[in-house]
């Protein structure tokens, strides 16, 4: 009888012990896998955030809110402000009581106005293409040249198999206020497709400011806003080094809008979310440690029985290697079955978590993290199970079969 067969028989013939071990490790693997995938969700959620500009100017709503809505395209329809502020900054006009804002090196206006199959359509201008530190280039075609042209982010073109010259219809997205929904749809011709930027803008579409204003004019925005459709949601500001304090003073004190430092807000976001992601990892390790301790307890508790059994095998001529292999195989079989159980739990419940999070967190859909990305948990669980079995193995390896058999007689 070989060690694998013996190990298998031992597991099958001790169903209580096996079930406890299987559930302990299986649940630990399932929970650990879920936590690891949630950790990946956290990392992926902000991993593709747009990293451009030194500051964002937006309607007052909190730094993180502005950062996430402008750079991660998540959140509800934001408040808007007059685009005159943009023009003032753009033209370096003297603002009352302030010096010329000559610390500004670049400005990109942003206004959300429509959606195409869930993807945001962003009204902007060709300054979008000339952002310092962000290489924006075209895979096909060119920037919007005439009316009813639209530029696609790389992911939008790939997902919907669109090419330059294709015509698409977009639905106005102008918030959730009464009358926000519109019976109008707008047809655009694809004039260009961007090279991948590896950020959220890959999942967006871009039109000119004039086209965006046309959409807004026919929505409740034009009715509710004191500035009509001449509004913006954000301005991405590129600054000279050390220019942010000046911008902040200008914007925060003299206007109804708010300036947000992109690096500072990113750090704050990292601090807030990094803690929970670290906690998820720590909880994952804790779950695995608890499961492993349970198995170690099972093996340890059975030490006397195992000791007698392995001494019998030695007396029958089984070598130390074979008896050790029998114990290790038991751990491997138990760990393998538990990993399988854990993977099934992980696979089954992650979809529910994903749906729940998508329903409760506004913004882009929570990305699906494939189950195989839990593999570090499986490897850790296998390792932990084998180590748990190895603790008695060390003692058994030093066992004197003669004395063990004498003591049992």
């Amino acid at each position: 009888m070989n060690p694998i067969h013996l190990a298998l028989l031992n597991l099958r013939r001790h169903p209580g012990n096996t079930l406890i071990g299987l559930l302990a490790i299986g649940l630990a693997v399932g929970i650990g896998g879920l936590l690891l995938r949630l950790h990946h969700v956290g990392a992926d959620r902000f991993g593709n955030m747009v990293r451009s500009g030194d500051a964002i100017v937006g309607a007052k709503s909190g730094e993180l809110d502005i950062l996430l809505n402008a750079m991660n395209l998540e959140g509800d329809y934001p408040d808007f402000f007059t685009s005159r502020l943009y023009w003032s900054l753009q033209n370096r006009h003297r603002l009352e009581f302030m010096e010329n804002p000559d610390y500004v090196t670049g400005l990109v206006p942003i206004v959300y106005c429509a959606k195409y199959r869930g993807a945001r359509v962003i009204g902007t201008n060709d300054d979008f293409l000339r952002q310092p530190g962000l290489a924006v280039s075209f895979d096909q075609g060119a920037w919007v040249g005439q009316d009813r042209n639209i530029v696609l982010g790389a992911n939008v073109a790939r997902q919907h198999n669109l090419r330059v010259g294709d015509k698409i219809s977009v639905d106005p997205w102008t918030g959730s206020a009464p009358g926000a929904s519109s019976i109008f749809t707008y047809e655009f011709t694809v004039s260009g497709i961007l090279q991948p930027l590896d950020n959220r803008w890959d999942g967006a579409l871009f039109i000119g400011m004039a086209q965006a204003r046309t959409i807004l004019e026919r929505s409740h925005v034009a009715i509710n806003s004191p500035w009509g459709s001449d509004v913006l949601h954000y301005v991405i500001v590129h600054l000279k080094p050390g220019g942010y304090p000046g911008l902040r003073n200008l914007i925060n004190q003299m206007t109804i809008t708010q300036a947000v430092s992109v690096p500072q807000a990113m750090d704050e976001l990292q601090r807030l979310t990094g803690g929970s992601r670290t906690l998820a990892l720590a909880a994952m390790f804790l779950a695995l440690i608890l499961g492993s301790l349970c198995v170690a307890g099972l093996f340890g508790g059975r030490f006397e029985v195992l000791s007698g059994e392995l001494a019998i095998l030695r007396a029958l001529g089984y070598s130390r290697g074979e008896t050790s292999a029998r114990l290790l195989w038991e751990a491997i079989l138990l760990g393998g079955a538990a990993c399988l159980l854990g993977a099934v739990l992980d696979f089954s419940f992650f979809g529910l978590f994903q749906q729940w999070m998508t329903a409760n967190l506004s913004g882009p859909a929570i990305p699906y993290i494939p189950a195989w990305r839990s593999y570090p948990v499986w490897l850790l669980a296998m390792g932990a199970t084998v180590i748990s079995a190895s603790l008695p193995l060390y003692r058994l390896y030093r066992q004197d079969a003669h004395n063990t058999l004498r003591r049992s007689s």
Partner: protein, 224 residues
């Protein structure tokens, strides 16, 4: 009873100037100046309890080494071999009936018998069935050994040795839990096997001693 080593008998057990001490102590448990057991000349070892008879049997099986002297198996110094080599020889050539039967309770009678057989034996299932039948245990061949009585376990332990058809059989009180009828059956089976194998039986049972021509009165120095 004493004779020199005979290398013509391939699995002769030959002990010379053997001394075994109590573990962790310098106190000698027993000494054997010279002893030989060969195929066809079964030996019964008897003596008072606590003199080291079981340890003596373990010594013959290679489960421990003598502190002095040598145990030769088929002319080869068995006691000087490495532990792994002794394990291999024990599995290949030895069958041991232990005093406590040493069956694995979660295995069936059949599986316990299979456990004692070297791998690669072509007709192993037939031999297992035959041995269990011989011991009257075929009706319980699928029963887990933890559910068997002491006597039944003992018969399974003997069946394990018979099925393996080893060249050396060592039996420690093989009939201690058996009634007269079953004890006789076990002894018949062991003596029949001893026609082709070297057999050493340790027993207090007078009925067993009477069936052996060669007897050894084991007088160790006793356990502390």
């Amino acid at each position: 009873m004493l004779s020199g080593p005979d290398n013509t008998t391939s699995m002769e057990l030959y002990l010379q100037d053997v001394e075994v001490s109590i573990p962790g102590s310098s106190r000698v448990l027993f000494r054997v100046s010279e002893m030989s057991v060969k195929s066809g000349e079964p030996l019964c070892v008897h003596g008072p309890s606590g003199q080291g008879k079981t340890t003596f049997l373990h010594l013959l099986a290679g489960l421990l080494r003598p502190d002095k002297g040598s145990v030769r198996l088929g002319g080869e110094d068995f006691s000087s071999l490495s532990e792994r080599e002794r394990d291999t020889k024990r599995k290949r050539h030895f069958g041991v009936v232990f005093q406590q039967h040493n069956l694995l309770g979660y295995l069936t009678a059949t599986e316990n018998v299979l456990l004692g057989m070297p791998t690669g034996v072509p007709d192993r299932n037939d031999r297992v069935r035959e041995a269990l039948t011989r011991m009257g245990m075929e009706p319980k061949d699928k029963t887990h050994c933890k559910w068997l009585s002491q006597g039944e376990r003992q018969r399974v332990a003997v069946a394990r040795v018979l099925a393996a058809q080893p060249q050396v059989i060592l039996a420690d009180e093989p009939t201690s839990s058996l009634d007269q009828l079953n004890a006789a059956a076990v002894l018949d089976a062991l003596l029949e096997a001893a026609e082709k194998a070297t057999l050493v039986v340790v027993s207090h049972d007078v009925r067993i001693r009477e069936r052996f021509l060669r007897k050894m009165d084991f007088q160790g120095f006793g356990a502390p």
